[in-house]
């Protein structure tokens, strides 16, 4: 995949050309698990930095294959490196999985609503992640950890399939070693030798150390998991207004034009992906929307 010199010489402001992917070069590829990888990218040409807010996503274009939405999983305090963590599931993600250092990807973005971390000042913060859902939450975790003094208890509840599917293992261990973060990991099944929890992530909610009357919860994972998590958080006493979820729908334009990502009365690309749970609760239980 060669760099297109014509593309690089274009002095376009990417913000004014939302349909034109900007070329980014892969600086590093890290295989997190058997099917999930993280790529670090740097912009080519005139663009030096790529500022974004936690929870936002980009459209990633694998030239000649296709374009897909992927959340940003890096540290927003470092806008010189763009980080995406992707699970290889189909045509585009599998093609991306084969890419190496030096290859070029087209990027459009950042798009969508962020995690409203500013609203959590002075509150306990609970992150609930399921599977690949930890990736879109990681930038928010970085931000909360960087300004730790602004929050009460900070808790991460993370559920995934097996111990081999645990993402960002080293980072989770580092965070767990701190005295001011509560990190709980659970897997759906494990062979003996695993000393952590086994069971669904919702099982962790009743006893997690946070004050439900003063908590903001950020939830990301498969839709079913988010639904049950929100119900369990609510049962514990967290107000639905204080629960935020990140939705996924197929996307094309990502700027609210084509209607591909319509979810009831909203467009996930423009009005989301991060929604207040109370606003979409009813739509989550409808069969066809």
């Amino acid at each position: 995949m060669a760099t297109d010199p014509e593309l690089l010489s274009l002095k376009v402001d990417y913000k004014w050309n939302p349909m034109l992917p900007w070329p980014f070069q892969i600086r590093r590829v890290k295989h997190e698990t058997e099917d999930t990888f993280t790529i670090e990218l740097q912009p080519l040409g005139a663009l030096e930095e790529f500022a974004y807010q936690p929870g936002q996503f980009n459209m990633l274009y694998v030239y000649g294959v296709g374009e897909i939405p992927i959340s940003i999983s890096g540290d927003p305090a470092n806008p010189r490196v763009l980080v995406h963590t992707t699970r290889a599931v189909g045509t585009v993600t599998k093609a991306m999985d084969k890419m190496k250092r030096g290859d070029i990807l087209g990027i459009r973005g950042p798009y969508g609503t962020p995690w409203p971390i500013d609203q959590a000042n002075g509150s306990d913060v609970v992150f609930v992640a399921g599977g690949i859902g930890l990736a879109p939450l990681r930038p928010a975790l970085y931000e909360v950890v960087a300004h730790r003094e602004l929050y009460g208890k900070v808790v991460l509840l993370y559920g995934t399939r097996t111990p081999l599917d645990v993402l960002f293992r080293q980072e989770l261990e580092n965070w767990r070693a701190r005295f001011d973060l509560e990190i709980y990991v659970t897997v759906d099944r494990a062979m003996t030798g695993w000393r952590g929890n086994v069971g669904v992530v919702t099982n962790l909610i009743p006893r997690a150390p946070f004050d439900p009357r003063n908590t903001m919860a950020f939830v990301c994972g498969p839709e079913i998991m988010m639904r049950f998590t929100a119900m369990e958080l609510h049962k514990r006493g967290v107000d639905n207004e204080h629960i935020f979820v990140s939705m996924e729908r197929n996307m094309k334009c990502a700027i609210g034009l084509c209607g591909h990502c319509q979810f009831g009365s909203v467009f996930v690309c423009k009005d989301g992906p991060v929604f207040r749970y109370s606003e979409i609760k009813e739509m989550l239980v409808k069969w066809e929307i």
Partner: protein
């Protein structure tokens, strides 16, 4: 005994029980300590107790051919372990093993079983509480079975 009584009184599982029944439950309770790595009960053994975990961690596991024991669930502080004492043929369906040093309160299910047969109101009070636990575990099991983190369910 006073200590046991206080712990049981504070646990939501027993909340709302009348004094007579609560006293009966306390009479069936005893403290128990299991060292890390020790088996609490094995699949197929007679089930005569249930347990309230005070501290530590217990794994429910099942032997799988060629792969060894598969952990199905872990239970920790505050969880109730075991309902096989309540349902014929009164045998355990899984192995239970202490992963860490575990302290529990053991309740004599065999004795309670007879009392429930003689006093159906007590039986209903206990069944109601176990039905709630069973429902939660069934819900968790369904989610696990759906394999929601696998390919799109």
């Amino acid at each position: 005994m006073e200590d046991l009584k206080n712990i049981l009184a504070e646990h939501p599982f027993f909340s709302g029980l009348n004094e007579e029944y609560f006293a009966l439950i306390v009479g069936c309770a005893s403290n128990m300590r299991i060292d890390a790595g020790k088996i609490i009960h094995r699949e197929g053994e007679e089930a005569n107790h249930f347990y309230l975990i005070r501290s530590g961690k217990v794994t429910l596991q099942m032997m799988t051919p060629n792969k060894g024991p598969l952990i199905i669930e872990t239970l920790t502080e505050g969880d109730i372990l075991g309902w096989s004492w309540l349902v014929p043929p009164y045998t355990w369906h899984f192995d239970a093993k202490a992963l860490d040093l575990t302290r529990m309160i053991a309740l004599d299910g065999k004795c309670l079983r007879t009392k429930c047969e003689n006093d159906h109101h007590l039986g209903y009070e206990l069944l109601k509480r176990f039905a709630d636990i069973m429902m939660k575990r069934l819900e968790s099991t369904r989610l696990q079975l759906m394999d929601i983190y696998g390919d799109r369910p």
